[in-house]
Every structure is written in C-alpha cells, then in structure tokens.
C-alpha cells in the first residue's frame, strides 16, 4: 500500500504516515504504539509551530471545525483520532515536558511547548533588543498583541510569564506590579 504525503492549504506538509489508517488507532503492540506515539507528538508540535497554535484540547478530536482538523482528521481515508487516544497523547507530551496542562488538576487541555520556555525567553529578549525597547516599561498585553506582528504575537500570558521569570533569574528582566496589572522591563544581559 503506497502511502503519500499531502500538503495542507496553509502549506504544511503532512507526513506519509498520516495517510495510514492504523495511525489513527491505539495499537496493542507496545513497540508499534511507542513508535506511533513518537510520530504523533512530533506531528502535533510541528503543526503547532507552523500555525502558532498554543492550546490542544480533547474537544478538538470530538468536534470538527477547529484549528486542529487537518491533523486530527484525514478525510481522504475517512479516519479521525478518537478522543481517548488524543488524551493519552496529551499525557505523553506532558510526561516529556513538551506540554503542560493548561489549568492544573484538569486533563482536557494542554499548553504546547513547541518552543521551550527557555527558548521563548531568548526570543523575548532578542525581540526587546531589536525593537530598542530595553529599559522601557512594557505591559504583558503590549507584548502579546503588538501593533506590528512579532515572533511573540498571540503568545499566551502564562507562557509569557514563565519566560519572563526565566529572564529575571539571570537579571535580564524585572516584573513590576501595580494595582491594575503587571508590567515588565528588560535589561541588557
């Protein structure tokens, strides 16, 4: 059976294994299961990086029409991933520290780390340096929703906060709090 790759309308190349029906079911064989889990994790993270998606929910497997449709479903072979399999994939991602549960004590949604928080910290600092915003006070909203698209557009606030905490440990950032909200100031580091 010849497997083929497929390109989504947004330009993302789906691997050939995505066209194989067994990819979408939980395999009983341990080594196959481990191999397929590995493939799924890589696929999810690459797609998230391509489309800048941060959250993956179990509902995305149940309800069509979301951002993850192209990955979680394959209409050409009429297969889709069952929510239980997706849930176990999310657990595997969390175990490997490639994702965290979005709110603690629940397992419905994960925040994906297609960049590790340390990498985000580096991106954040180099963006601040490049736009000449060192030593100025910035609000979190300003960073995640800048008027000019930046590598940090649409980053989720908890992830932003984690990256800033990493920077503050090496004295490259400082969080400032007032009654209404929080801000951050970056320094040369």
């Amino acid at each position: 059976m010849a497997l083929s790759t497929h390109t989504t309308p947004s330009g993302f190349l789906l691997p050939s294994i995505h066209s194989a029906p067994p990819f979408f079911t939980h395999q009983p064989n341990q080594s196959t299961h481990a191999h397929l889990t590995e493939q799924w994790m890589r696929l999810i993270l690459t797609y998230a990086r391509h489309k800048r998606l941060f959250i993956l929910r179990v509902e995305d497997a149940e309800v069509p029409g979301g951002d993850w449709d192209k990955i979680l479903r394959n209409e050409r072979i009429n297969r889709q991933i069952p929510p239980s399999y997706l849930s176990s994939l999310m657990a595997a991602l969390v175990v490997k520290n490639l994702a965290v549960y979005e709110l603690a004590k629940q397992t419905h949604a994960v925040l994906l780390h297609w960049h590790l928080p340390e990498e985000w910290a580096g991106v954040l600092h180099s963006w601040a340096t490049a736009t000449g915003q060192l030593n100025t006070i910035l609000t979190f909203y300003e960073i995640s929703d800048p008027p000019i698209p930046s590598p940090l557009s649409c980053i989720l606030i908890p992830l932003l906060r984690r990256a800033i905490t990493i920077l503050s440990r090496s004295n490259r950032a400082q969080i400032i709090g007032v009654a209404d909200g929080e801000g951050v100031r970056f320094f040369v580091g």
């Binding site: 503050s168 400082q174 007032v178 909200g181």
Partner: protein, 180 residues
C-alpha cells in the same frame, strides 16, 4: 566581583508609566470591542434589508453610527495618553543626559583643582630657566669646537695656497725652458 549587579529599583516614576500604559491597553481593548459591535450591527442591518424591514435597518445603522463616534472619541483620548507616555519617557532620557553632564563637569573640576594655575606657571618658569642654561652651555661648547675647527681650516688653507704657488712656478719654469 562577588555578586552580580542587581536590577535597578522600581521607582514611583516607573509605576506611573506602567499605570498609563495599562490605561492605554484598556482603551485598545475597548476599541476592539466596539469594532466587533460595529461589524455586528452592519450584518444586522443587511439582514433586515434582506427581509425588507427598512426601518429596522435604519435603526441598526443609527446604532452603528453612534458606535463609530465612540470609536473616534476613544481614538483622540488614546492619542492624548500616548503623547503623555512619550513625554514622560523623553523627560526621563533628558534627566539621565543632565546627570551625565553634571558628572562630567565634576570630574573636569577635580582635574582642574589638581592642576592650579600657579603651579603650572612655576613649572613653566623653571623649564624656561633650565632651557636657557642648556642653551648657554651648548653655545660655549659649540664656540670652542668652532675655534678648533677654524685653526685646522686655516692650516689647510695655508697648505693649499703653498701647493698652488709651487705648481704655478713649475709650469712657468717649464714654459720658459721650452720657449728657449
């Protein structure tokens, strides 16, 4: 150095700036909300026109117009806020420039205190005296040598003159002897 430099303290100025920026963010979010309402009213008006209810469409459009005027007002308020924020940031820059100038001035004054005018004058006078003394000695030595060289030169001149006379006598003698 043992400890690394810690981050500068958060001053009241910083908090004021942060407050202003947070207000600006609130205005931006409000504008986004109004834009959403605008678009929705537009759709509602179109839907009413499609069903032939012209008066309801007009009402929806009037609501939309009112939201647009709100949007314009918040635009001008945001402009004010942003101007205030940039003025504050600019004045902070000015303060640091002044501070730098003051420090530079102080350093210059300290250097001048070390180099007083009197001590410089005294130094220059002493140098002048030493230079004149040196020149005198040089002249003396130069004169002595020149005298010696002068004597040698005179002696050479006499010798040359003597040679020249004897050569001319010999040529004269030869010419006389050949003429005979």
């Amino acid at each position: 150095m043992g400890s690394s430099q810690s981050t500068p303290k958060v001053t009241a100025h910083d908090r004021a700036i942060l407050d202003l920026k947070l207000q600006r963010d609130k205005l931006k979010q409000y504008q986004k909300k109004i834009q959403v309402v605008l678009d929705r009213e537009h759709e509602i008006a179109k839907a009413h026109l499609a069903t032939g209810q012209k008066d309801r469409a007009v009402i929806a459009l009037r609501r939309r117009k009112y939201q647009q005027s709100l949007l314009l007002k918040t635009d001008s308020q945001m402009e004010n806020l942003e101007q205030l924020v940039s003025t504050i940031e600019f004045s902070l820059v000015e303060v640091s420039v002044l501070h730098g100038l003051k420090q530079g001035n102080e350093v210059l004054q300290e250097i001048h205190r070390e180099m007083s005018i009197e001590s410089v004058e005294k130094l220059m006078d002493e140098t002048q005296e030493a230079r004149e003394y040196q020149r005198e000695i040089g002249d003396l030595l130069a004169n002595r040598l020149t005298h010696d060289e002068e004597d040698a030169v005179q002696a050479e001149l006499l010798a040359l003159q003597g040679e020249a006379v004897s050569t001319s006598c010999r040529t004269l003698f030869y010419s006389f002897s050949h003429d005979i």
